[in-house]
Amino acid sequence: MLCFYSLPAHQLHIILTAILLYKQFSILHFFIPNSHSLFFICVHFIIPFFSSPFSTNKMVGTSLEQQLRNFLRSMHDQGILDHNFENVRRLQTQGNPQFLTEVITMFINDADVSLAETTRLMNEPELDYETLTSYLHQLRGSSASIGGCRMAVACRDVRQAIDARDKARCLETFERVKQEYQTLRSSFNNILQLERSIMAYENRRRRG
C-alpha cells in the first residue's frame, strides 16, 4: 500500500478508484460496503480531491486573486490609493498586458529623480521657491494620476508652504511627502509582485 503514495496524487486517485470499483462489482450481494471499504472510499476520495494538481493550482490562483483584492481594499481603506488607481489598472488589456507595470515603473523612476532633486533644493540655505514649485507640481500631478492620493495631498501641503514662503513648513511638509512616497512605493511593489504571480499562474494554466 505504501508504494501507491509515491505516485502523483491524481494518478493515485484513478488507480485506487478503479481497484475499489472492481472490488465492489465483484461482490454484488453487498448493498453497503463493509466498514473497511467505506473507510477506503472516504480516504481515497478525500485525499485526491485536495491534492490533485488541478484543484491545488486553482486554489493557488484564487488565493492570489483574493490576496490582491484584499491588499487593494486595504490600500483604499487607508487612503493610500483611490479610484484613479483602479481606473488606471483597468486600462491594462490583453493587447497591453504590461501597461500597469510600465506606468508604475515610470512613476517610481520619475518620482525618485524629482524627490532627490527636491531634497537637494530643500537642503540649500536659501530655498529656490520657483524650482521647488515646479517639482512639487509634477510630483502632485503624477501621484494623483496614478491614484496615490495621500501623497498627492502631502504635495499640496508643500505647495501651500512654498506659496507662503515658509521655509520651516516647507521642510516639515516635505518630510511627509517622502514618507507617503515610501508607503506608496512599497504598496506598488507588492501589487506588482502579486500581479506577476497571477500572470505566471494564468500562463501555466493556459499551457496546461
Partner: protein
C-alpha cells in the same frame, strides 16, 4: 469604491475587438502635457475608447504641429507647461483660426486661472486627473454630432 471581483490578469484582459463597438470610433486626439506619465495615462484612456492619439510635450510643440499642417478632432491641453503654457498655446491656436475642440486639463488652478484658461479659447475644462474613460464619452457624442469638419489654421495671404 468597488474593486473588480474578477481581478485576475486573464479575466481583466479584454480583447479590444470584443468591446462595445458603439464606443469605438476613429477620432484623433492631441494630448499636450509636459509630464510623460500623464501623457501615457491620458493616451491610454483615449486609446481604450478608440481614439488615435498623438502627444506634445509643450504648448509650443502643439502649435508647431498645427503650423506643420497637423489636425485633430480634439486637443487635451495642460495648463502649466514650460516654454509655452496651455493658456498661451490655446490663444495661439485660436489666433491661427484653429476651431478644434480644446479641452483644458489641469490641477492646482485658482478660479482666476481657470477663467483665464477658458477665456483663452477653451471649449471645456476638466480638473486632473483624467483617468475615467466615462468622462470622455460625452465629448465623443459631441464630436459625432458635429456637422462642420474641424478646420486647421486659416492661412492669410
Amino acid at each position: 469604491m468597488e474593486f473588480e471581483e474578477d481581478s485576475t490578469a486573464s479575466k481583466r484582459m479584454k480583447i479590444a475587438e470584443n468591446e462595445d463597438p458603439i464606443t469605438k470610433v476613429q477620432f484623433s486626439a492631441l494630448i499636450v502635457d509636459d509630464d510623460p506619465l500623464i501623457r501615457k495615462i491620458h493616451s491610454e484612456v483615449l486609446n481604450s475608447l478608440g481614439f488615435q492619439t498623438r502627444v506634445a510635450k509643450s504648448g509650443k510643440e502643439a502649435v508647431d504641429l498645427y503650423h506643420a499642417g497637423a489636425n485633430f478632432d480634439i486637443v487635451f491641453m495642460d495648463m502649466q507647461m514650460p516654454v509655452m503654457n496651455g493658456i498661451e498655446a490655446t490663444k495661439e491656436l485660436r489666433g491661427m483660426g484653429v476651431s478644434t475642440k480644446i479641452v483644458g486639463v489641469s490641477s492646482e488652478c485658482s478660479e482666476s486661472e481657470i477663467e483665464a484658461f477658458i477665456l483663452a479659447g477653451l471649449d471645456l475644462y476638466y480638473a486632473k486627473p483624467l483617468t475615467d474613460a466615462n468622462k470622455i464619452i460625452p465629448l465623443m457624442e459631441d464630436l459625432k454630432n458635429k456637422s462642420v469638419p474641424n478646420e486647421g489654421p486659416k492661412k492669410t495671404m
